[in-house]
């Protein structure tokens, strides 16, 4: 489903060139729940940004269901992100002016789904993530764990092929983290959702099918 070939990403920081990814290649099958792990600065988040089309690699290829996504135009990438990918950030990244339901249904509204459909879908998804009674609450009225669950529901509203999660539990306590990981596990098992999650917590391993270890911008082991 996902084929990554010799992916490299370098940055210029001041006068120094930093090689965040030095040539990463791997494949992920549909329906897998994969964790990308490794120490700080190993390139985990950078890799996820490239796969989520939030950044452009220096070189290499990313094929999703045979589509060379790096060859898409900016506008095509935007549409691809909207319709095929879901992204969960570590700091929730939900819009403070919108209620939980509005945050969730916004991508569906942009996709042109009917109001009836996106209202129903957002309600169902928020119920799935355990926030059925928080539909009309603003983010400031929700806990960190609840906000992250809103972000997950938003990422799922357009039924993405792949769900990317960049350290989704980094800002959460253990109990909330466990709820999030169990939710991912459930989505993966019950809906066959492909999930690629960045984590640095050893205890998260038990929730995933497979782990890709990164170190210094290279795959250490798979």
């Amino acid at each position: 489903m996902i084929q990554v070939q010799d992916l490299k990403r370098s940055y210029i920081m001041g006068k120094v060139e930093v090689h965040a990814l030095k040539g990463v290649s791997f494949e992920i099958e549909q329906g897998e729940f994969v964790a990308i792990m490794g120490p700080s600065g190993s390139g985990k988040s950078t890799l996820l940004h490239q796969l989520g089309l939030l950044d452009t690699p220096t070189s290499g290829k990313i094929l999703i269901d045979g589509v060379d996504v790096l060859r898409l135009s900016d506008r095509e990438k935007t549409i691809y992100r909207l319709t095929q990918l879901g992204y969960v950030f570590q700091d929730y990244a939900i819009l403070p002016e919108l209620t939980a339901a509005e945050n969730v249904y916004l991508p569906a509204m942009v996709q042109g789904k009917s109001k009836e459909l996106y209202l129903r879908s957002s309600r169902e998804l928020l119920e799935t993530v355990g926030l059925g009674d928080r539909l009309h609450h603003l983010p400031q009225e929700l806990s960190g764990g609840e906000q992250q669950r809103v972000a997950i529901a938003r990422a799922l509203i357009n039924k993405p092929k792949i769900l990317f999660a960049d350290e989704p539990c980094a800002n959460l306590d253990t109990e909330s983290s466990r709820h999030i990981l169990e939710l991912f596990r459930k989505l993966n098992e019950e809906l066959g959702q492909t999930i690629l999650m960045v984590s640095h917590e050893e205890w998260h391993k038990k929730y995933v099918d497979r782990i890709i270890y990164l170190k210094d911008g290279l795959i250490e082991k798979m």
Partner: protein
Amino acid sequence: MLKNLQVSFFLAYKSIRKGNIGTTILTVVIMSMIFVNLIFLPSIVSGIGEGMNVMLIDYTCANILIEPQEDNLYISNVGSIQKKLNSLPGVAGTSAHYISGATFTYKDNFVSGALYSINPIDEVTVTKTYTRIIEGEYLSKGDTDEILLGIDLAGEEGKESEEQNLGGVKVGDNIAVTFSNGVIREYRVKGIFKTKSFMADGSAFITEKEMESVLGLDDKASEILVKLNQRGTEEEFKKKFMELGISEDIKTWEDKASGIVGDIISSFSLINVISTIISLIMAVIVIFIIIYINTVNKRKQIGILKAVGIDKSIIIRSYVIQSLFYCSAGITIGSIILYFLISYLIANPLEFPMTYVRPLVEPQLIIQSVISLIAVSLIAGFIPSWKTANENILKAIWG
């Protein structure tokens, strides 16, 4: 396209509704003040021009002024001409004047100026000077030894003036008038008028009968004033007069206004243009700063919107809609303020040295101001949001 517009409206609505109410109110108030400024000063300038035009018509030259052809001092067969003109439907009245240069002397003061003769019965159908008598009475047809003086010629006792005057002549005082042909006569001041028209208030009037006896003329005039029932029909009547066989020099009040009054209006128009440009620049800066601060504060949110797959055109449009909201609300509140301000000033006109001024708001000015403000709002809303929406997603999210 429609669904994208719907999302832009949704985001803009949420941003305004959940935004800082104080900032929103302040922005709308500033926009309304800019709109008031765009309309108010030009309306005052138009009001000055209109006031001066009305004064020119009411006290100096009526709607149409007929003067002798070049090389002639007087118009002949005046009675016959007036009869023809008065017979035309739409002509409210005509008044023939003799104009003579004269020196007015009172005690040690003497002033040279223009002396007009009038037929008081005809004159009241053409000018409104008779309504501006501040002391004494208007002339009667049979008056031969009485004179009517403008306030600038009579002078006011104890009041200094830049113009020469007779130092405070009162009704009942006698003044000596030396005509251009050397005849000297003494007249009792019957009345003093104050119109605020600098052209009228520096002149004096005697009756036609008296002037003809001094000049030894009959059935002639230096000018004939024609009052029309409806302003704006002057050109049409000018043609009709020519068709009647009147071969004298026929001028409309607008022809006369293009001189001194035209220069004054041009100067005010320049001030007006400068003020309008400053107001528009202010509008651009205010809206630009507000939208810029708004977009900078929401950089992360713009990044998030892009990350979830929302096209940047939707995001930019939502900010443009916000700026249009500030603009529309400002125009609405500004219109309400203007309504009360202008209504007040129409009821209580401003007293300018040359005229009473009532603001004159022309529809074209309102349309022009609304379009200008909307245009600058669009630009000022577009640029900062376009700049932020074009940033790299990760840079926008993490700064």
